[in-house]
Subunit: 273 residues, 2 copies
């Protein structure tokens, strides 16, 4: 009888080559699986909600793993806090229902992208997660462009190619908040294809800086391959802040529904969307 | 006819050996003076409000300098933003009255000290400026101890020795705010002696963790030399967030008053409190 655990995870992406394991490189999943396997004294494999790229941060990443024995969660939290490097933290550990799947049961992922419009650049203490936006931007034009991207579309123009992966996604939220010099995008979708959030930010910044008209984004939605006209915004402005899941009773149905339309998980561990 | 400039400055203290110039070491003042001298093509010397120690941050540091010619401030801000490394920013430059003295005209300095009481430690993105507080603390006891330290006292027990420097200071504010896992101290005084804020935090944390009774701080105030019982809290939790100055008409009087009780500035540049 295995026990399924849900882990909530935060990390600074700067010193990681992204989430997914790559031989010889420092990845979030690699560091976490090694720490968990050592502390729990059994091999642990993680499945994750959002496979973040190199340099991308997370404040609300979610993963699951299966253990042979139910661990003492209080002790595990404490030992992991001591064992893990300071740039990755397991912020919460809980026993999850066997139907809980961090990847396939997720209803939606929420990312934020942080920019500073200050003339002097980003605040030094925040420069690891805030990108300086030197050129002035028209936030209303950015909001108008973002609103046109909402809904179920083929986001191929915004996606790096990944074999067998669909680029049809439902963009549920894309808005821009202004707080003094801080300009923050919130981007939510059922799932994201590769580089999609950073491409959405790059495209809307082109509109904000006046390099493209608002209507340009409509044309992007009609393209069927990645657009070279869309710049990918720098990784360090991006952070996965939350993942939504259905109530426990609806987990199994959601997982079955998602698996039917999503690609098969790659063999081995560290898989996710 | 010289022009006096006021510079508002922010920095991440991690990679600096503090504010004051030291031969062969990377200091905030050294990096700023070099950048200003290069951009302005004349030697520039800075006088500062708070000479922060190695590893201490600033979000509201203030300095002044005198220039032979009045520069174009817009251009200067822009060129400095490009010329300075990302861990130090000049957030504002303005022409100041000749009576403005960043060090001696200051009415008070405001510092904050940031702790995280989360079991998992500091948020990875914030770990450069938030110190994990692993042991549980009694915030009410900390508030009571902090309140007893307010007022005009000889803070010798909290100060590292500096030849000729007085340790009599007026502590005007010392309180603790709780926001979720974040525990933030705000500490304000007319001026601070060396290591004083971090010692005040260390002493009050000893009370918060139950290692000392609240009344212990009274005894510290009666000591005339540095107390080995007071632990100095880590540098990276501390940030100088603001400096208050009187209205322009009162600058000269304030400077004269302060100079009378403060030590003579050391020869050369980078001096401050």
């Amino acid at each position: 009888m295995t026990t399924r655990l849900r882990l909530d995870i935060a990390y600074d992406g700067a010193e990681f080559r992204g989430w997914a394991n790559q031989p010889g490189l420092r990845t979030v999943c690699g560091v976490l699986e090694q720490a968990l396997s050592t502390v729990l004294r059994e091999p642990v494999q993680l499945t994750v909600a959002g496979r973040t790229d190199a340099g991308v941060h997370a404040e609300g990443q979610v993963a699951h793993c299966d253990l042979g024995d139910a661990p003492d969660l209080g002790k595990l939290t404490h030992r992991l806090a001591r064992f893990l490097p300071a740039d990755v933290r397991v912020t919460r550990i809980a026993v999850a229902p066997p139907e809980f799947d961090a990847r396939f049961a997720a209803l939606r992922r929420h990312y934020i992208y942080r920019l500073s419009t200050a003339r002097h650049g980003a605040n030094p203490l925040e420069r690891g997660y805030v990108v300086p936006q030197a050129k002035p931007v028209d936030v209303e034009a950015m909001r108008a462009a973002s609103a046109r991207l909402l809904g179920l579309h083929d986001f191929a123009a915004f996606c790096r190619f990944r074999e067998g992966a669909t680029t049809v996604r439902e963009l549920q939220r894309y808005d821009w908040a202004v707080d003094g010099d801080r300009l923050t995008a919130t981007v939510s979708a059922d799932a994201f294809c590769w580089s999609m959030v950073r491409s959405l930010v790059g495209a809307v910044l082109a509109v904000g800086e006046g390099r493209r008209p608002v209507e340009w984004v409509d044309r992007l939605l009609s393209e069927r391959t990645r657009s070279s006209a869309v710049l990918v915004a720098p990784a360090h402005g991006l952070s996965l802040v939350a993942v939504d899941y259905p109530a426990d009773a609806d987990l199994a149905a959601r997982t079955a529904e998602t698996r039917a339309v999503r690609t098969a998980p790659p063999p081995g561990s560290c898989c996710g969307d």
